[in-house]
């Protein structure tokens, strides 16, 4: 089977070994060092519930050695300890408890101020379950699969298998997930036999049994993500049966965390499943009938069980040679590196027994995190998770009941036992005495005690210690308080690698226009603008600006939102949604339109074109298209309007042809329809351009003569190519967003969202002219009436300066901030820096000059120039 490399030492691997069993067989007793006091910790629960066997495997820290199959060549490193786990000089902390009291960091390093940053550095370097690798290849992405089943059973023990078999037999689609292998944790005996029988029955009933899979949590839906087995499942079950069983109760007594102290099922698993002797000479502390099974498993592997202490009723059937110690209780485990003896309190007095193992089986705490986080989802518990300590028959019956749709059963939480001291929380090294101190300091609720002491907050999420913490509070509080409840159970139920959680999360969708490949061929620098990939520049943006101002430029506007609005109430809809007049718009005419929200604030802008038959074409900004569609539909829906809103954005391509030579170019390529070279402002028309049917819109966004050609998306390439070829001698070239930014700025046209604030109404933007307040009703009208009754306190202005203007800088006047520059560019044409920004009125008047990052700027009217044509 090969060997593990454990801290550089070879460790033999035998069939069926986990990393933990192989290491233990090879003589390893100290598996980790504890967090604060650097105490030695050894195997304890062997069921994935405690932190004692967390090791680093092949560079990945925090791996549970007891649940991880051993394989040849694995490199295993134990965490904690300096210079090593075996020889840890930091263990001196264990002798300095008084200097590491609970709440230590709250009370210390307060003065001087820099003390904390030094201390923090030191703390951070030694904390945690190990060091995450930060180099090397990232793990492969984990595939995702959505699954729908009738019944999801979590846990492949007796109750879970019974539930699955029962549900499967009734014809339901059943998925059972088991963290390890079904039966894999069980020593030979009646439980393992029953599990084998039920597993057979379940498989025959068509149950899908998925091993090595962990349920992450039970979320609203219900949704149960399941990780493991090289893929992540998002299971949507109709019903959930939680059969995650119980773990033996964690007892708190002095020395309870020494290597050699075992939970009964852990010791039995090591002996019965892996054939490894947990101890040579063991004492068993029993309060459960199950403890007798553990005694048998231990003896079979050759461990000498010297004594069993517990109630008289349990001790009647002990094998020969095992001393019964009636009503004996362990008060202390003693030893330097591991258990060397235990001290008992018996009715006859104190006793000390030499041994190298103490096996504890006092009761069970349900492994019920999943159940408790289920809220009011259709989840029901079965078996030990709801009835800890139930018999085999009871567990099976409970599973079958759950399958039949039994009511959720209440969880009973074992009452934990607290000694005078001892470790309550193994992960965080919190002792019973620490809880006492915190209590005395005035911290009195479970949640604050938890946070202040950090008990239950480690990697095992309180699986073992939460009941002990609850018991502590219950023992001290006035009985009226409802505070003895256990801390909240939060997902994930077990620690899960982020790679598995991230499975199948969507990459950010990316939209392309029909001209994408053409932009690439022209060497464009493409970037994301919202969801769209758009060309920012093809070469020198100054040259692109010049082309538009002096010749002709082409811009891909296939990203603009375009909506066909039709139906009997089409006119009513646009009249309500837009604040301009719409009823006087004749077919073939268009108008600049603002859409306001109910607050009167500008939501989007575009062009409204009246078509024949009472239909309209409305454009919107590229980023605003989805919202515009939702908004149109909302108003139509609430107003009960019979109207069809067709979002044609992805159906259509769009090319803007702009510049003084645009008319010449268009005249060359128009095949049918009106002369697009002399389309007046506010007009639109249908035409066939270079063989492509287009709707041409005269627009003003960049200034000068400009026409948008909207057409079938599939024809974009043909149209674009034809325009470039036909315009070659005119100096036609493509331009991108960088040039557009300068062009629209010279025109004084704000970018919504960049130059505007969310509470800009049309008046603040100088767009009051675009509002027909005399219309009786439109969205935002009442708000505008209210807003416009007040004096204007802030507005969008143009600024002009000789020095460079830095976008984002505040406008300052006499040292006070009175506004902010939101756009800026150097306009070659104007020979000056220009910008847009918002400005506040000072004493009722708007300043005429402001300073912008040290530069003096004049507040000027916009547009900065009427750039030709028009």
């Amino acid at each position: 089977m090969g060997h593990l490399d454990v801290d550089g030492r070879p460790v033999e691997v035998r069939p069926g070994d986990t990393i933990a069993s192989a290491m233990f067989r090879a003589g390893v007793r100290t598996f980790t060092r504890s967090l604060k006091y650097h105490r030695r910790r050894g195997l304890y629960c062997l069921s994935g519930d405690c932190p004692n066997c967390l090791v680093t495997v092949d560079g990945v820290p925090g791996v549970r050695a007891c649940e991880t199959p051993a394989a040849d060549g694995q490199r295993v490193r134990r965490k904690g300890g300096w210079p090593s786990v075996e020889r840890d000089v930091l263990a001196v902390a264990d002798h300095l408890h008084a200097l590491l009291p609970v709440g230590f960091y709250s009370k210390t390093f307060i003065r001087p101020r820099w003390a904390w940053s030094l201390a923090e550095r030191a703390i951070r370097s030694v904390t945690g379950v190990g060091r995450l690798p930060t180099t090397g290849p990232a793990p492969e992405a984990v595939p995702l699969r959505h699954r729908r089943v009738d019944v999801l059973v979590i846990g492949g023990g007796v109750a879970g298998l019974a539930a699955a078999a029962q549900a499967g037999a009734s014809g339901a689609r059943v998925l059972l997930v088991e963290e390890g292998r079904v039966g894999g944790r069980l020593a030979p005996g009646p439980v393992r036999d029953r599990v084998a029988t039920l597993a057979d029955e379940a498989r025959r009933a068509g149950v899908e049994v998925a091993e090595g899979r962990t349920a992450v949590g039970i979320y609203e839906g219900p949704l149960v993500p399941v990780v493991g087995g090289d893929e992540t499942l998002r299971v949507e079950p109709n019903r959930i049966v939680v059969a995650t069983g119980a773990v033996e109760e964690h007892a708190v007594f002095v020395g309870n965390d020494l290597p050699g102290v075992w939970l009964g099922r852990g010791a039995a698993r090591l002996a019965g499943v892996h054939g490894v002797r947990p101890a040579e000479r063991a004492v068993v502390w029993a309060r459960t009938a199950e403890a007798l099974e553990h005694v048998r498993a231990l003896r079979e592997i050759g461990t000498e069980v010297v004594a069993v202490c517990g109630p008289a009723g349990l001790l009647t059937q002990l094998p020969d040679g095992v001393e019964p110690i009636v009503d004996g209780e362990v008060v202390r485990a003693v030893g330097r590196r591991a258990v060397e003896a235990v001290e008992l309190r018996t009715p006859e007095g104190r006793r000390r027994i030499a041994c190298d193992g103490l096996v504890v089986s006092l009761g069970r705490s349900p492994r019920d995190g999943l159940l408790r986080m289920a809220g009011d989802e259709p989840a029901v518990g079965a078996g030990e998770v709801v009835a800890p300590g139930c018999s085999l028959d009871e567990a099976e019956a409970s599973g079958r009941r759950a399958a039949a749709g039994g009511r959720p059963e209440a969880t009973s939480c074992g009452r934990a036992r607290l000694g005078s001291d001892g470790i309550v929380c193994l992960c965080e090294d919190v002792g019973a005495a620490d809880l006492d101190v915190a209590w005395a300091e005035g911290w009195r609720s479970v949640e604050i005690l938890k946070r202040y002491t950090t008990a239950t907050m480690g990697p095992c999420q309180g699986a073992l210690c939460a009941p002990a913490l609850a018991a502590f509070v219950e023992g001290r509080r006035r009985p009226t308080a409802a505070a003895a409840e256990r801390p909240t159970a939060r997902p994930p139920a077990r620690p899960v690698p982020l790679a598995a959680l991230a499975a199948g999360v969507d990459e950010l969708p990316e939209r392309r226009t029909g001209l994408h490949d053409r932009h690439l061929a022209l060497g464009a620098r493409l970037g994301r603008s919202g969801a769209w990939l758009r060309p920012f520049r093809y070469g020198d943006p100054d040259e692109e600006v010049r082309a538009v101002r002096e010749a002709v430029g082409l811009l891909d506007v296939g990203t603009l939102g375009r909506f066909l609005i039709a139906g009997p109430h089409a006119g009513a809809l646009v009249d309500r949604v837009l604040c301009c007049r719409t009823d006087d718009l004749a077919p073939g005419r268009s108008r600049y339109a603002l859409a306001l929200d109910p607050g009167g604030y500008v939501r989007d802008d575009g062009l409204l074109c009246a078509l024949e038959d009472g239909r309209f074409l409305l454009t919107s900004t590229s980023g605003g298209a989805d919202a515009m569609e939702a908004w149109l539909r909302d108003v139509a829906d609430r107003g009960g309007l019979r109207v069809h809103v067709v979002n044609q954005t992805s159906w259509l391509g769009g090319v803007l042809v702009a510049g003084p030579q645009a008319p010449t170019l268009l005249a060359r390529v128009v095949e049918r329809g009106p002369d697009l070279g002399s389309l007046p402002p506010g007009a639109h028309a249908e035409a066939v351009v270079a063989g492509v049917a287009c709707r041409a819109l005269r627009t003003g966004f960049v200034g000068g003569y400009a026409v948008e050609l909207h057409h079938r998306r599939a024809a974009s390439v043909a149209l674009w190519d034809a325009l470039l070829v036909a315009g070659r001698d005119l100096g036609a070239r493509a331009f991108g967003l960088d040039a557009l930014d300068v062009l629209r700025l010279e025109r004084g046209h704000p970018y919504l969202g960049q130059d505007t604030l969310p509470d800009d109404d049309p008046r603040k933007l100088g767009l009051g002219w675009a509002v027909a307040l005399d219309k009786p009703a439109f969205v935002g009208r009442s708000a505008l009436v209210r807003l416009w009754a007040r004096p204007l306190e802030r507005r969008l202005v143009g600024v002009r300066a000789d020095g460079p203007l830095a976008r984002g800088a505040p406008f300052e006047l006499d040292g006070a901030v009175v506004g902010r520059l939101t756009s800026a560019a150097r306009s070659r044409r104007l020979g000056a820096w220009i910008g847009l920004g918002w400005l506040r009125a000072v004493d009722g008047a708007f300043p005429e000059r402001v300073r912008v990052a040290g530069v003096s700027a004049a507040v000027v009217p916009i547009p900065f120039e009427e750039a030709g044509g028009g």
Binding site: P61, G62, A98, L99, F104, Y105, S106, K107, T108, F109, I110, R113, W116, E120, R121, I123, R124, S125, T127, G128, V129, G130, R131, L132, P133, T135, A138, P139, V216, Y219, G442, R444, S445, I448, R451, Y452, M457, P459, A482, R490, P492, P495, L498, A499, L501, A503, V505, L508, G527, G530, L757, P758, D759, L787, E793, R807, G808, A809, P810, T822
Partner: protein
Amino acid sequence: MSGLLRRRTFLRPRELRGGYDVVIVGGGVNGLSLAYNLAAHHGIRDVAVLERAYLGAGASGRNTQVVRANYNTPETVPLYARSLELWRTLSQELDFNVQFSTQGELDLCHTADALEVERDKALLNRAFGVATEILTVEEVVRLQPLVDPSGGGELPVLGASYHPPGSFARHDSVVWGYASAATRLGVAIHEELRVVGLDVRDGRCRGVVVEGGRTVEADAVVLAVAGWTSELASTAGLALPITTHPLQAFVTEPYAHVLDGLVSSMDLYVYVSQTARGELLVGAEILPYTTYSTRSTFGFLAEASRRAIQILPFMARARAMRQWAGLCDMTPDSSPILGASELDGLYLMAGMGTWGFKGAPIFGRSMAELVATGRTPALIAPFAPGRFAADRMVPDAASAGTH
């Protein structure tokens, strides 16, 4: 270290009396900061803080511990800059280590638009003396070599803004620190006492009604109950411009220190830091819908995991250990509401979105001045409850809803 062996009592139970000068509803970081500041700076010690669960049970104990001043409006930058100043000496002021640690905040940009917004922000910040600078990709990698400049091969980093004063403080410790300092000064703190309504008589708020029907009178009542402001205000007939949204976060198992400071992405809406305990703490933006449920969603855990891996690939091997959700008051302009309500005697510390934690020192300080003197400090004047009717919003959505 001298304080170590000294026995200390941080909280002490007190009998609830029938009246106080000031009653503060909500034992979170803001309510406690106000109580402390009233007692410490204005000599008003007849103050009761009423908390329905345990101290810090709400948003205070659920936030992601980020303290910063790189905001995006001329009103918010100076406010949080002043708060940051107070944070620096808070441990000493409260004689309680709130674990304040300045490590810097790196905000990655993967789109030109985001980078432009960050550039704007940096300029505005510097105009107010707040250090924020723009880094190139090369500078980003030099500063934080764990960042994947290719954005998972999908969304390359174009640059970043870097805010050196970006800091953390342990959220619970801040709550406990304020609580213990206030207790020392005589403030009465009552846990597990639910306020069920406001006592309004003759057009004035005269106190609160607690569970069981008992009235506790006060000259001034302050609501500092993030998430639940609307519900309590409605008992006095007050309707507010507030909605309640959940914000989620998760931590991984603790690991030895690898990551300094806050690393966030302005385009992927995720941010990551490593706590002093070693846990990697991952947060994202608020959910868009309103809810009072603090149940976590898997969608958040999965999405945030993926986005975190995308900017910090080493995170792929980390194991998520615990996720949770808290409630945020959101306002129409994403800025807090601080000031006197339209109902005499009732004050609001509300609408804090995701900013309540970082603002707590200055919010408490300023509101104490208002409650004690009746004068509104200039720093919080723009955040008055009446600003919506006056058309004077402080829109800072670009900074809201994340860390």
